[in-house]
Subunit: 457 residues, 2 copies
């Protein structure tokens, strides 16, 4: 244990939290244009924080969408360089009525910081800025560091690829370090070594050209809501296999040995069900819960709407029905291919009595990161030091599409050393991030730098 | 032709329209509590209009919900009495963005009055008040008349039954006359002799106890939207038969002769498809379009919602999904029975991984009215006089649940002499009512009274 690190954190922890609160107060919802100004403002605030922490050449780099904040500290060109990636945009906060406190009015309750973005990803980004400040202030930065903090992760990082392509020299590094994932539990550290990809669509089903009275027309015209439901139902069979032709063609099949290895991660199904108040689990026949949400692809409706949604009863047949449908992809599946397969299938199962429209939103590729690299070892040792236990390598069900892009464009592997918990309710009402986890991140990151610099020698 | 009638209408038609506009400007949406004051205010305005037209004992009768406006004109207790029923409440106006002009800012375009309630039912109610005024002013009222105009038709007439039970003496009459239906076309008059019943439910499907990240949980927990879609899909087979056990048990089966008779109503499938911009029709195998929407029961989703409905992409698994589902019923089916069958079936097909809730909204019984009664003949002759063609008796797909209730409580048959058109977009954006139809109604009603009084002698 390095007492310099722990005492610096002890001395400054109140300020670390106050500064994070400043960031959390800005509603940087990238999905909703009405928060556009706030998203831009957040980039400026991040810039200021990087400068204050000691970074140089800090700039808010414009893109066709929201800007990317860049900053760096090169202490010696001969030393390795760590590129820290994160995002300052957040998910929409709705349904607002389910929040116990305002999503953009951070508060601490039960040692947890409650706010949209507390964990995903402002809290985790800010750990890096504060860990960097710590290394600067304690004169212990052992290698070079670059920061690339974007504002479009929650909407598909549409402009990051172009930025990376155009700034390969600037982004030159030896490894990418990302904290946008979690650990199994506060006493069971883990590092993510696999991520699922994503295909996300919006679909529209149109029946009649206007809303109709369900008495006068009911039974005689295609009801687009019924049809949409039937089409969605048709996308899975009774074993919860996805029925899109070709969908599983490229899915990585794990060996029994690999499945046994993954099954070693501690997991209690009863606790899982209890935490979510589920009377039964649900998913693809032949796979465990942990397999279903990591090594298997999925198809989930993320939103659906059509017709009358107000109070009381309205006897209407809607003209149109809509759904947002996404698929999580596993290694070897390709997002564009799956998007095409989905679109073809969805169009093919539509009865002639309706018109359908499929609009792809963003996609992302699945990825498996190496667990035998120098960087992985540096992260594993760092966590072992601060948690007192060697972290477990795990496959996560989530997607960070840019990991695959970094590999293809920059030739760099990423280390996914995140500090959140599954129970943090990211993307949900009452998102939160443990004060323990926030400070543990700030404590662990300097060890990663130290280990990485030492192991790279 | 009675020139007294036509010349009175010619002289007063501008005022008739202006007065209707007054009524249409009040947003008397009974389904939405935020319009509560407006609904009450509409009752007061109706009262004033009845008084002005010459009715006496006019009162706004309170109920547990919205009031019922009563008024009468008894000229001779020995003469027959016509009880006019109508409703002053309207459907919700949403989706608002699809209206070309404000739903409560009536305008005339192409000889049609555009506003919520223009046809259903303010326009048709007001025809009766103006026809009554005409008979009073021209001293031609040939029998007694009573008015009962309610404010809860669009939400199931919950309190009308109690009112009728408690006021049997006051409501004593020989026949009920209702204009809340339509004609086939302006040159093809028709009278409705059958109405479908209604069962209307709201359903809720709950998966996890909170919204979840679709990456971390996708595939491993029941997605309530997917499940709801699958359950809705299961309620019909591939022939569009409803699969609820027992659903068809009581359905009236028409003879081939009866079906042939119904098939005589003029109908052009190509025009029907063109008017609704349908590439194909859709419905139960083995029945024609006109049979599907009149003599066959239906199951339609009237609204569905859950998860993220905003712009862009949110990777969420919703905790809950909702739908409003209604069934139109045909003679011999019973609304309470069908509601129970639906509830049992819906609960039985829910997988153990979700919790479901079924909340019945209002229901109503199907009805067939006699087409050989004195009142029917009076209506038929009246239309023949004003349209120049004998009207066709038709079965309508819609529901006016109170017709069955009037029969059971008051022992009275109803005559459904309405003047709307299928294309009037009632319950939809841009509801309208032809100026022709409005004035034709005012013209026809006095003939009905005249014929009915004469035929009753």
């Amino acid at each position: 244990m390095d007492t310099t690190i722990t005492s610096y954190i002890e001395t400054n922890k109140k300020r670390f939290i106050d500064e994070l609160f400043e960031l959390l107060r800005i509603p940087s919802v990238s999905a909703d244009p009405k928060y556009s100004k706030d998203v831009f403002r957040t980039a400026e605030v991040i810039k200021g924080k990087l400068v204050a922490a000691g970074a140089v050449k800090v700039e808010v780099c414009p893109t066709a969408g929201y800007p990317i904040v860049y900053g760096e500290k090169i202490i010696d060109a001969a030393l390795p360089t760590v590129l820290v990636y994160g995002h300052y945009d957040v998910q929409p906060a709705d349904p607002l009525e389910l929040w116990d406190s305002g999503p953009f009015e951070p508060v601490i309750k039960n040692e947890k910081i409650y706010a949209r973005g507390a964990c995903d990803d402002k809290g985790q980004v800010y750990m890096h800025i504060k860990a960097f400040e710590l290394m600067m202030q304690t004169k212990s930065l052992p290698c070079n560091v670059k920061f690339m903090i974007e504002g479009e992760e929650e909407v598909g990082s549409d402009n990051l690829g172009t930025f990376v392509k155009q700034n390969k020299e600037k982004l030159k590094a030896d490894v990418i370090l990302i904290s946008d994932t979690g650990i199994i539990a506060n006493d069971i550290p883990s590092i993510t070594v696999g991520l699922r990809g994503l295909s996300y669509m919006e679909v529209e089903v149109q029946g009649p050209n206007r809303d109709l009275h369900s008495g006068l027309y009911g039974g005689a015209v295609a009801n687009p809501i019924n049809i949409l439901c039937e089409m969605i139902a048709k996308m899975k069979d009774d074993k919860d296999h996805i029925t899109i032709p070709g969908f599983y063609d490229d899915v990585e099949i794990l060996t029994e040995a690999e499945r046994s290895e993954l099954a070693k991660a501690p997991f209690n199904l009863d606790e899982y069900k209890k935490a979510l108040d589920l009377s039964d689990i649900h998913g693809e026949t032949g796979y465990t819960t942990n397999e279903r949400n990591s090594i298997r692809p999925t198809l989930d409706v993320n939103g659906i709407w059509g017709g009358y949604m107000g109070e009381g009863a309205k006897t209407v047949i809607a003209s149109k029905a809509f759904a947002k449908i996404s698929m999580r992809l596993v290694p070897h599946q390709n997002s564009d291919t799956i998007t095409k397969l989905f679109k073809n299938y969805f169009e093919s199962i539509a009865p002639k009595s309706v018109k359908v429209k499929v609009t792809p939103h963003h996609g992302g590729e699945p990825v498996v990161t190496p667990s035998n690299s120098t960087a992985y070892k540096a992260a594993s040792m760092a966590m072992e030091t601060t948690f007192g236990k060697k972290p477990i390598p795990v496959r996560s069900g989530g997607s960070i599409p840019i990991v695959a892009m970094f590999k293809s464009e920059l030739g760099l592997d990423s280390v996914l050393m995140g500090f959140g918990l599954d129970s943090d309710a990211i993307h949900s009402p009452n998102e939160h991030y443990g004060v323990f986890n926030y400070l543990k991140g700030i404590e662990t990151i300097p060890y990663f730098f130290k280990n990485y610099a030492a192991l790279s020698k």
